[in-house]
Subunit: 226 residues, 2 copies
């Protein structure tokens, strides 16, 4: 059975892909080149897809810079050294407008071409860094829309299903789950703002959440050579 | 008041933009370079946007060919000379998987950046050539999702609204409405499969529906020099 799996190269989406593989899906992994400053994650995604036995790995090039206005795509500084209270107080500048909506729309297009009814996305609503499009109510609404948008939904039999196996897990739980699923964490990439030497900065929200997750799980982060 | 207006260069989206302008919106017109074989429509869109006084016209480049499988983006012949029964019998090969979902997602991203709550799209459910993502129930579901996806929806006050002024009009009614709104029909482009000389083919579904619309409205089609 075919499934489209969104893959960013980070540890959440890698764990999500590993989960889909464990369920026996033939996985079509999809990454996006959207002008992100941390394009190194695309190489991580490719390696993760290969290591986890995805059937196909594809990068869709989309131009989100045409709208500007996010620290991940525009020339705005990535915030550093924030604690969780600060992260959760507001939607941060690293939020890319409507990003998950756009990513899921592309996944839906590919699913339709493949005649696949299953889409996997590694969002989680706990350590979600304040992004509105990581919440369960968003995913449910997307799924309803998807079933009206496409051939798949129109046949009245097949139902598009958006799978979010990590949605209610903490970062530490995701790390522990990933260990069970043999996720190659050493290949994953989380940092929003790599150093000139190509190392994680250690201070952006994504680095902070990752470090916290590994620490709380009591697991060494292979990506940092720890 | 700002609005994002999807603009394909065809007569429906041109009429939709003219309507938004008449309502007094400051219009941000958005077209897509998605590898369509009829890229000539992008130049039509630019001219229409200018003629109707859009504040900004932007083309987002997105790669839908990465998934293939539509006569509009892949090397599959565009069907010709079909009557309406044939058009409505099945979802045609010119349907681009999840296209309106993707287009609306980009419009949503731009709306969020602009802090605009209004999006206009010229879909219509009557002469819709069998596309599932032109139906009112799809639009409603998208709107619900959009209000959960974004900053705009999260503030609890602003509501994203997807405007579909043409949704229940026939092609002839759209033409008549366009005449009232001074739509520059001579600048619009509908054909899916231009001749080598750059003229409309006259036989694809889009040409057939356009010709029928003008004929039934009793209006000459300026684009054909009639």
């Amino acid at each position: 059975m075919k499934a489209v799996c969104l893959l960013s190269g980070g540890l959440d989406s890698a764990t999500c892909l590993a989960y889909a593989r464990k369920l026996g899906y033939e996985c079509y992994a999809l990454s996006f080149d959207y002008g992100q400053r941390h394009r190194v994650e695309l190489e991580a995604a490719r390696q993760v897809a290969e290591a986890l036995g995805a059937a196909v790995f594809r990068v869709a090039k989309i131009d989100l810079r045409v709208f500007g206005h996010s620290a991940l795509t525009a020339d705005i500084a990535v915030p550093k050294g924030r604690d969780e209270t600060q992260m959760n107080a507001d939607i941060p500048i690293t939020y890319v407008p409507a990003r998950n909506t756009i990513f899921l729309s592309f996944a839906l297009a590919w699913a339709e071409v493949l005649e696949a009814a299953d889409i996997f996305i590694g969002v989680n609503a706990l350590d979600y860094s304040g992004y509105p499009d990581c919440r369960p109510e968003f995913i449910e609404a997307f799924e309803k829309m998807a079933n009206l948008a496409t051939r798949v939904g129109v046949d009245g039999v097949t139902r598009v299903k958006i799978h979010t196996p990590l949605i209610s897990l903490s970062k530490a739980e995701i790390v522990r789950y990933g260990v069970k699923l043999d996720v190659p964490f050493g290949l994953t990439w989380s940092c929003y703002d790599p150093t000139p030497e190509g190392r994680p900065c250690g201070a952006c929200d994504s680095c902070v959440l990752r470090a916290k997750g590994f620490r709380e799980a009591g697991v060494a982060d292979a990506a940092l050579g720890l």
